[in-house]
Symmetry: D2
Subunit: 390 residues, 4 copies
């Protein structure tokens, strides 16, 4: 499976084309729209999230509620576009128009792609960079991920996410009854936190940051239950599933770290307390007494829940300004104030969930027979039987 | 650029083929052998490291000290192979021989690929898994990385690594005079630590773990200076350099996390203290007052030193046994004692250095003109001038 | 560079996303629309070509007439879609609706993807196959190719195509004054033939085939002038440019063969008459006295015009019916009559031109520096100087 | 599946690494050596073929006669290497040695990669090019293909090849009793021709060409029986199996054309005579009354035998010299006489067979479940049942 995305933050539309899906898989626009809505929620979001209510239009690849096997295209209109047709238009400008263009950006913001991107691609108007480097693009990454998540769900694989830290405040609740229960709690928390008390503190921290013209980051955790054993591979470094998940998480805007299972804690624990003892049961086959390694050993799933965490830095668009340099005048300035979120961590946890879902669905489709969806279901059932009886 | 590796831990040889190198680049076997030697050092290594002194034989792609542009093959003989020709031989066995084969493994070790790999590939003798999943394979990853490092060095890009934490003991020294000085200190430290005092404590912790039949992990840091601005890209998620580096680090055996710059600390700091202010100077162009983001913004290099860290869990091969299950008898056992390292973190920092070097060299070769090495040098010089004068 | 396409023949829209274009390259919707119009012309086309006048909408990646470096999305609406919303709709059907759906196809047509595609993807209604396997998809392949052709044109590389054979009638004119002159003649020929007399015979043959309820195929030739020397590579089989061109041509619907330069004639000529003697001139550097090898030696361009031919079989949709089997009843039938073209070779020559243009532009972007379009121009100029002075 | 190859014609060794094979597949060195021997035979070969008797050494990936799932490396020593250690050595030369180096090449041969390759990679000694562009590299392409062919054979898929034309002399026999019988005849023909009489004429033509200091080319045909229906895909142009086969054939040294089924004849036949009527039988399912389309419709297998042809131009190394230009002096010369084959078409048919086998095995492994070889066997059996009962 592969996908490409296109679209700028204030351009006409965001589009993704997904190639390699099985045929005969149930898929509705609602499946995707629900996830897009989840991405737009969260305490700490700015005004834009209210402007846009993202929904997909299906351009191809689906008929009467089922995938055709042909590429699926998903289109999200930018409702804002009507106000930007001049600034972001595709037609050439004459000199008068060019001079007149508003919102030209010569002042790069620290922590953004602005300056590096402008140097790389030779853009003197850095709007050319930020329109694409914007987290707006994650809309269609979520759309592609929603298709992946649907595929996983139909195979009995459950994906969820929650926020475990915001602005230094950590969730003290790590356990959850079931993934359904975890979802129920986090979907009702404005910061997607399992720990109600910590959640309230997080919201307070977000509000304080906002009041200070500042922003805060945090840590999100994605949990996946029901993956077959042995997805991924140890035989070549670029086939390891943990490596792919690390890339997926790190590629989300503003993420600076990723860890699996106990992650960085592994540097502080003795080997005897790090590894998960193997147990066996006639009914269910092999499992582990603990899950410190987060469901991944040797670059493969081991049948335990996947636990992947990523850290998002505070959003760089700041009310509290940082020094920078105008690329035209070379004069120092303090980075301009733009409307912004003070914390996007809850939304980012939804994005992370979908980035992970994509990698898992993709790995499954690559590893198993997948032309016909019912064949995929049968192949995985057979594999699970093989694993159970091994 | 791309490469493949082949070889089992006790098989005849380890091989890598590297495709896509520029032609006319100076390259000697010594360039690679030096790095292989660095990989074999470090306090806490077991006996095997003494048995093998790895050197490469060049099978193709190099003539009279220069790359040809054709694929480079590098071969490392396993000196141990002569003792394993029966157990690891390629020819079929008759039934008597098959029954007689020694070192058959039916007892999966927790924390290894043993069990998942066996289920995935259907191996009842788990030697078939561990021979490949072994960290022995990193020998040729280092060999490929050494070629990449040479390319970077010839472009004035310096790569180094050091150990910042072992078994909970953290290096207190973060600053270094220059990358050359950092190398000088860490190459002379048996744990590759900048902080002499912490280094002594780390060695003590390793010895204690060994005495207890236990093992410990740690955190390594790779530092790269001299990368051109704008390597990587923000335009598509799978072209982001930070994502590629995350995958490279996470794909190293036993790594469970990766972070860039301040990494997970970003969850605890306000936005106003996270981002790096942009400054400009007529001579040198743009730079940053600080380097909290570790040289990567928007999925691209920003001209500051790259700072990438990874965490390695304690080596799972334990003298202090863990419970597991024999796959033949389904009986519980405590994981068998094998000769082993009690800490491989210093060596892993060398591997991480090479994994990072590969990704950077590969990104450079992909992004710039690279058929002729001198053309690559000129193209980068031109790009650096463009960046400086932007 | 890479691209994906999506869309069914009677679905809502055809879309392509192109990723990897240089930034700062001039690009207008007209550049693409002109090529789309060329694809719709040609003696022998059926009614559908009149229904649809294809034009692209740009969804992203272009601003004020220039590429941004971000992915470019191009959308072509199917004007016919309004009549097909029920038959090709994306929403699920209830049982009554499902039974009522018109134009369900249980009768596979010989020479189409119908039956194999239905078996592969498990479709009992073969409309699910033919909607995607239809040559309608070449619309967006031409759109992507038009972007590639524009890039080539801006680098002074000229791409043209003409029809050299239809239904056994061969063009007797092989020489052309210049590529501009070739274009002038072929653009004015309803069968895109350089040889006016042969062109008239071809049209007669097409009309006769139509009158007989039959169809005919032919051979198209793509010519490219101005490629730099050394694009492609001999160092690895999958990097050879001739191999990529062969795949590009063969992947066009209904193509069954491809040849370069003298092609299959090479089996009948002695080596002394096949190869092109090398000459040299102080002003222009190396060239060849002849061009039997069609501009490609050792998997690379040699500076001579590229000459690539492909053969298209007669369109399988026939008025003159062939026997087949209904997949539901397993009864024999004679393949159903559908409106159709009796010859699509002239249009296919336009498609071939764009398939070739894509491969060439892609090879150039991969081989040279290409982040900034002006950098690409400079890099190729420098390379051409190097080649001339070699 | 993927593979890389390394090695120069007179370098130490040729190596291939194959990644992505199923585990548990029987594989012996003999399986490969037999095919390497077939590649070295054929009327018209020069002396070198007698010098080298190629055999593989297995460097990894196989144990006790079965694949491990890990990458397989295959090494072929160049027996000639001992005479070339100075000329092709890897160590740098001092000035005296450099001046003294023999067999430096400044005179490019028409029809070779020499000149373009030298310009591309900046080699003033064109030995740096021809050592890699030499057809010697096809040794390891055959080795990789032999592994693929073994995989196919174990799945009941039979691959064979024969020569259908040499130097204008065409085989008049197109029919064969069975693929086994075809093999029996062609393996005993020095020109691998089904038609004994034509074979004798071909040999005469080869001898005459040799006597004249000339060379001749020809057309080879690869036939494959037993492929499952629906391998490849129509859904995206780069997934079409015919496109992949075209690339594979065209990437063989000296090939200038490829066709499938009736190929270029399709330009001369009416649609009513080109397509293959579909028939059905309760026992065997669907098949075709004829096989004009060579087993491929819509970019997929249709269950009929695959018929793929390629044309090889006469070997450019000539006794009968062609004009060229010395790149140092810029003086005209007539291309130097080297020992050479006067016709390599029979050997090329063996190479083509393996190039095709690789693509098919690779497509099968990608499309079906393939971690465990027995799982692949079961998955294909299940698919074949599905196809039969469709």
């Amino acid at each position: 499976m592969r996908y490409l995305t296109s679209g700028e933050s204030h351009g006409p539309k965001l589009i993704t084309i997904i190639e390699g899906l099985p045929a005969g898989m149930p898929l509705l626009a609602e499946d995707i729209n629900e996830e897009l809505a989840r991405r737009q929620k969260g305490h700490g979001r700015g005004r834009r999230m209210q402007i846009e209510t993202d929904t997909v239009e299906i351009g191809g690849g689906i008929r009467h509620g089922y995938t055709l096997g042909s590429p699926v295209s998903l289109i999200v209109e930018n409702n804002d576009w009507k106000h930007w047709t001049k600034i972001m238009g595709q037609d050439p400008l004459d000199d008068a128009e060019a001079n007149d263009i508003k919102r030209k950006i010569s002042r790069p913001r620290p922590g953004h792609a602005d300056l590096n991107g402008a140097i790389k691609y030779g853009h003197r108007d850095m709007r050319n960079v930020l329109e694409r480097s914007s987290a707006r693009e994650t809309t269609v990454r979520v759309a592609a991920g929603a298709v992946a998540k649907k595929l996983l769900a139909l195979l009995g694989i459950k994906v969820a996410s929650h926020v475990v830290e915001i602005g230094g405040i950590k969730s003290k609740v790590a356990d959850y009854e079931s993934i359904e229960k975890l979802k129920e709690i986090t979907e009702n928390s404005p910061v997607r936190c399992l720990d109600e008390e910590a959640g309230l503190e997080m919201m307070k921290a977000i509000d304080e940051a906002k009041a200070n013209g500042d922003s805060i980051g945090g840590v999100v955790e994605v949990i996946v239950e029901g993956m077959p054993i042995g997805v991924g591979s140890y035989v070549h470094y670029d086939r390891k599933l943990d490596a792919k998940l690390a890339a997926a998480i790190m590629s989300i805007n503003a993420f600076k770290g990723v860890e699996i299972g106990i992650g960085f804690e592994a540097a502080r624990m003795p080997g005897s307390e790090v590894h998960d003892e193997i147990i066996w049961d006639k009914e269910t086959g092999y499992s582990r007494r603990t899950n410190r390694l987060g469901g991944l050993e040797g670059g493969m799933t081991n049948g335990m829940p996947l636990v992947v965490r990523g850290v998002m830095k505070p959003i760089p668009t700041l009310y509290k300004p940082l020094k920078s340099v105008d690329i035209d005048t070379k004069e120092e300035f303090t980075a301009s104030i733009e409307r912004s979120d003070s914390c996007a961590v809850p939304a980012a946890s939804v994005v992370a969930e979908h980035a992970v879902a994509w990698e898992l669905a993709s790995a499954i489709v690559d590893q198993f027979y997948s032309d016909r969806f019912e064949g995929l279901v049968a192949n995985i059932a057979e594999h699970n039987r093989h694993a159970r009886e091994f």
